[in-house]
Every structure is written in C-alpha cells, then in structure tokens.
Symmetry: C2
Subunit: 178 residues, 2 copies
DNA sequence: GGCTCCTCCTTGAACTTTAAACAAATGGTC
DNA sequence: GACCATTTGTTTAAAGTTCAAGGAGGAGCC
C-alpha cells in the first residue's frame, strides 16, 4: 500500500499532514522488486546456513565479525554495533552460540560491567568448514547474476541507504533515531 | 567470512570441492554494504510500522496484497506466494490479524480445503490511516537519497536477484529449490 | 467404490526476536 | 565521599518464525 486514495486536503491554512508523497508506478515497481529480492535472498541464505552450519545467517555473521577481530574477541556492545543488532538480541544469540561451544564469554579486566565474546577454536573450525558453501551460495544468488557495473551500483546504493539509517552516536542502543 | 584460508587442493584427479570462489575485496565491500543496508532498513521499517500500525512489516504487506486483490480476498496459498512466505507462516500471521479484526477467513465454495483471507473494513481503515506514514518512511530512507538512475538500477538488480531465487513451480511450498 | 498420490491449510513445539525492566559499574559533579 | 545520570549487559515475557507432522479434500486410475 504505497499508494492510496488521498484524504481531502484541509482548506484551513495550518494543515500539517500534507498530501502524502505516494510512490509513482516506477517507484512502486522498484520497491516491490527490492522487497521481493531481499525476502527471497534472506530466506535462501538462512536456509542454506541452517542446513550446512546449524545456525541462522545473523549468527554466522557474528562468528565472522569475531573471526576478524584482533584476538578473535569483541566487547558485546561493539559486536552489536558492527552486526547492527540490539544488545538484547546479541545476548540471546551469544548464549546460544556459547551452548554450541563456538563462542565463550570472558570478563573485561578494565570494565567490570563488560564482557568479551570470544570465538573458540571449534567456532573457527565451523566457520572454515562452512565458509566455502556460503560464499558459493552468495555468488550464485547475487554476484554471478550481475555485471561488474551492477555490482558496483548495488554497493553504492546500499551504502547510501545504510548511511542514512546509521545510529546518530555510537554507544546508543538500536532504537536509534526515535 | 566470505573469504578464508583455502584448504590445500587435493593432488588427485577427481577432487570435487574445488577451490572456493572467494569474494574479492570489492565484492566483499558490496556485500557488506548490502547486508548492512538491508538490516538497518528492515529494522527501521519494522519499528515504524510496529509503532504506527501495531504490526510488523510483513503483516502490513499482507494487508496490502489483500487490499489490491479483486474482492479484497485471496486464497491462502496465493497470498503466501505473493508475499513470498511459507503457508505455515501465513497461517500464524492471518490468525493474528484475524484476532485484530483486520482480516477474516472465509471458506472457499469450490474447494472445501480452501480458505480465503478477506480484508475487513477495519483492516482497510488501518491501511488507509497508516499508509501515508509508511510511504514517507520508505521515501526518506530510500528514494529521497537516490538519483533516478540509481532507483532504476536498484530495481533492475533486485529483480534479477529475485528471479534467480523464484520457486520452480507455483503451488510448491517455500523450501523451493531443495 | 476403493486406492493412491497430491494439494490445502493448520497445528504444536522449538527456536529467535522484540520490548521493557533491571542490577551493577562507571563517570562526572558537587 | 555522596549523588545522579549514563553505560553495560542480562533477563523476562510476549510475539513471531521455522520445522516437521498431520487431517481433510481433491484428482486420477483401477
């Protein structure tokens, strides 16, 4: 419903709502393709990783962030920000990954409130074993189908979108912007 | 983890796994921007609709599909396919929307197994009242930030991605492709 | 009719995510 | 030091999603 009958504009002078800026037909098509593609892709990758690695895509992404971090560890808040998820969600996720033995928590010496999420060797192994299959899935679904120019555009476009939704300040919780 | 140390290639003649086609640096940047943008956008719209319409984005999408359908009604399977979700998920979702009074089920006369999901007047009203705010959110997050050319590219690109992941045959359940 | 296979949709359990509330530690200010 | 606001991370419950299983109707075939 990106477009609908417009409400009669108030004849007064101080109307606030204004006429909604409905999407044009072209914009609607773009939006629907986008939502459709994202939905299908997300489900596809979730299924692929659930099957081959025993975890959803987001959890896999957490292990990746940890694997790339200095001592394969990150503070909870930092990991949450990198992965663009709330701290609450991260708490649950790490709890689950800990149960799998792929991550363990460690106290932060500097800040007694702090916790590090640390990638275990088992976690690293899971990543090493499942990464090839995952890249292949990403390639087949996305990169193999796009021209180099399209790949470049996609990157630029999504970077712009992401920037626009970035949290105002680091450290803030996710309900960033209102 | 779109890239990682490669396993030593087997020297035999019949190795299947092959060297994984890791992502190049550029591809990785594209992929990360994409995932980041999608995550932030999805969360943003979910929050916006949860706040203003009392339902997640997917549910809102279901009401939209119903509103556009001939007699504001669709068979469950068809709605599931249009929305790109499983029938199971749809069953739960419609149950919830029914509790809200925004949708109601109706038996299909032709096929006793069949059910129609029908948008109620209340459901339509919710849509009419919340659509302006939602379009505005979509505009601010996406269209206002992109040039017409970028909008066009985004549409083409995501249409290609979506097509590649489309279910083989209509009527099949979602675990389409394997 | 009886049989088999498929389709339509639902269900319940397990799992994940969200939202709100909270304890503990920190940091600045007086 | 005492105070108060902020930050960190967790917890609880409710909501949503997934997965596997299943009841019931339809469709083709004998």
């Amino acid at each position: 419903m990106e477009r609908m009958k417009a409400p009669a504009s108030t004849s007064g002078t101080a109307q606030a709502p204004q006429e909604p800026r409905w999407l044009t037909d072209e914009e609607q098509h773009v939006w629907r393709s986008f939502m459709e593609g994202v939905t299908l892709l997300d489900d596809h990758l979730d299924r692929q990783l659930q099957r081959d690695a025993g975890m959803p895509h987001v959890y896999y992404g957490l292990l990746v962030k940890l694997a790339e971090a200095p001592r394969r560890r990150l503070r909870m808040t930092e990991l949450a920000m990198l992965a663009k998820i709330t701290r609450s969600r991260l708490s649950h996720a790490i709890a689950r990954l800990e149960k799998n033995g792929w991550v363990h928590r460690e106290d932060c010496p500097d800040d007694k409130r702090g916790q590090f999420a640390v990638l275990t060797d088992e976690g690293y192994d899971v990543l090493r074993q499942t990464a090839p299959g995952h890249v292949e899935a990403v390639r087949q679904a996305v990169f193999d189908r796009l021209t180099p120019q399209q790949q470049k555009s996609l990157g630029e476009i999504m970077r712009i979108v992401a920037e626009g939704l970035q949290p105002a300040e680091a450290g803030a919780d996710l309900p960033w912007l209102r």
